[in-house]
């Protein structure tokens, strides 16, 4: 069968060849998207049908949320400090350093908070989800769950989705607040902007819509990252490029790459809807 396909291609006319070359990856991508979507729906559905999801969710919140807290604080702080610095030297040219509070807080809340938090969590928590589930796959643990009549998606994926839906917005909020504090450190403490002006600008320019938009992004990113990372691990045994432990490794790499691309693509779509 593969032999015949190869012959067909070499005999086909050039336009057909090009169509084939484009068509095959396109179909494959479509297939993969369908598979991820079904996987996500399955994971979401089982949130409501699984018994004892609470304990496993709490454990995952600990892993995704609590264990990432320190990194998020650190990155949020530096990010805000850099924003403060860059913002100051840009605004000073227009004589409007008083706007620094608005600049830092809006950038943080609308864009950097949700996106950087999601990317950090992909690297910290998403990759370990893929690795853990991938190892369970190649060592028959997922098959063992199925044999015990325990739905493996409900057992492994649903708690992680719930935990991500709770942790991503919370960590985003923490990231935003530390970022704004970082901006305060550079702006007020180092560059001598008036403290009242900095804080007043935040209060007057940030609206509830900005905050809600940021949370919406965090929720969507949480769902995307968890789905992609769990899916890559869950299907690690079906990879064509590698088998065994190597497949878990390459699944982890693809999970991180796909998640990051999806975060930025979804960010663009959401921003254009929200603005």
């Amino acid at each position: 069968m593969p032999q015949r396909n190869a012959d067909d291609i070499s005999r086909a006319s050039p336009p057909v060849k090009v169509l084939r070359l484009l068509g095959r990856p396109a179909l494959r991508a479509l297939n993969a998207m369908g598979s991820v979507t079904l996987f996500m729906l399955d994971g979401l559905r089982h949130i409501f049908t699984t018994r004892r999801i609470l304990g496993r969710t709490v454990r995952q919140i600990y892993v995704i949320g609590y264990q990432s807290l320190f990194v998020i604080l650190l990155i949020g702080l530096f990010c805000g400090m850099v924003l403060g610095l860059q913002g100051y030297y840009t605004l000073v040219r227009f004589g409007s350093v008083g706007m620094l509070g608005s600049a830092v807080s809006l950038t943080m809340i609308r864009e950097l908070g949700p996106v950087l938090t999601a990317i950090m969590l992909t690297g910290r928590a998403g990759s370990s989800m893929t690795a853990e589930i991938g190892v369970m796959r190649i060592t028959d643990q997922i098959d063992a769950l199925d044999v015990m009549d325990i739905n493996s998606v409900a057992y492994l994926v649903s708690p992680r989705i719930v935990a991500a839906l709770l942790s991503f917005p919370m960590l985003t909020a923490i990231f935003d607040v530390t970022g704004i504090f970082g901006g305060y450190l550079t702006g007020v403490c180092m560059l001598d902007i008036n403290e009242g002006a900095y804080l007043y600008r935040i209060v007057s320019s940030v609206t509830m819509t900005d905050v809600a938009g940021g949370f919406l992004k965090a929720l969507v990113f949480g769902l995307l990252v968890t789905t992609v990372c769990c899916h890559q691990g869950y299907k690690a045994h079906l990879r064509r490029d590698s088998v065994g432990p190597e497949a878990v490794g390459s699944a982890t790499t693809s999970a991180v790459v796909i998640s990051c691309v999806l975060i930025l693509a979804a960010d663009y779509v959401l921003t254009s809807i929200l603005l």
Partner: protein, 271 residues
């Protein structure tokens, strides 16, 4: 309660385009201890996966208690599979749970029992496989043989009607292996209606436990019958298998390394 039998007819199975089993037609009798024999990589684990319904056959059918498990509606299929206990080749214990939690998993997930009762039952079953002292250990803190025994404990806690064991004795020392066999036999005596299927290439284990033997070779079933029939068979492959005869195949070890390789190796050893 009636025991369940397992039968295959014209079963063809594999992974993607890689066909492992070409044509298996055989039956494993109900309420007996059957052993599936065969060389490494001949598809024994693949056959077990077919019985459990973990992968679908390419063609042919697998019947459990007379019903084709591939065509059963999902709810019915789960009801059948719920009564199967499986010991995977490497134990397949969940790494994140202790032994007691692993063994108790079918109970905690499906029944509404108080936690102490579930734990007591798990420890009792662990005691049956000689691991009651290790209830709070994690799988990666145990040896391979202990993991296998724990896997068996998990397979039997939900009182299966069909117990499938993938190489329960391989990689175990002779005494532990014999204990594993005794465990299967005592399970068989206690639950005469339980159908036990064990995959093995361990001849000592075969002698001890098998009521019925199925031999796989080149993707097909080349023998199915009792132990006595197996010994009486004059099929050259079976005779070699039973006598552990590699047919004087000394070509592999007899060849010398290529001169260039040998010279380089010698230089390396001397350096």
């Amino acid at each position: 309660m009636q025991a369940w039998d397992i039968s295959f007819s014209k079963l063809k199975a594999g992974y993607g385009s890689h066909v492992v089993l070409t044509d298996v037609t055989a039956a494993l009798p109900a309420g007996a201890v059957s052993v599936i024999l065969g060389g490494s990589g001949c598809g024994k684990s693949t056959l077990l996966r077919q019985i459990i319904g973990l992968s679908k056959p390419l063609s042919g059918e697998v019947r459990v208690a007379g019903r084709d498990i591939c065509t059963l509606p999902p709810a019915e299929f789960r009801r059948v599979r719920r009564r199967m206990g499986v010991l995977f080749q490497d134990g397949a214990l969940l790494g994140a749970l202790t032994l007691a939690q692993n063994v108790a998993l079918p109970l905690t997930e499906h029944l509404n029992l108080p936690a102490e009762a579930v734990r007591a039952e798990a420890v009792r079953i662990l005691g049956m496989v000689g691991l009651s002292d290790f209830a709070d250990f994690y799988p990666n803190e145990l040896s391979g043989g202990m993991r296998k025994r724990a896997g068996l404990a998990r397979a039997i806690i939900a009182q299966p009607r069909i117990l499938l064991c993938d190489e329960p004795t391989s990689g175990l020392d002779p005494i532990t292996a014999a204990r594993m066999d005794d465990l299967l036999l005592s399970m068989h005596r206690r639950f005469p209606e339980m159908t036990i299927v064990s995959v093995s290439h361990d001849l000592a284990s075969l002698n001890r436990i098998a009521d019925y033997v199925l031999v796989l070779r080149d993707g097909a079933c080349v023998f199915a019958g009792t132990q006595d029939a197996l010994r009486a068979s004059d099929d050259p492959y079976l005779v070699r298998f039973l006598n552990r005869d590699g047919a004087g195949d000394d070509a592999a070890a007899g060849e010398c390394a290529a001169p260039a390789v040998q010279a380089s190796l010698d230089r390396w050893f001397a350096s």
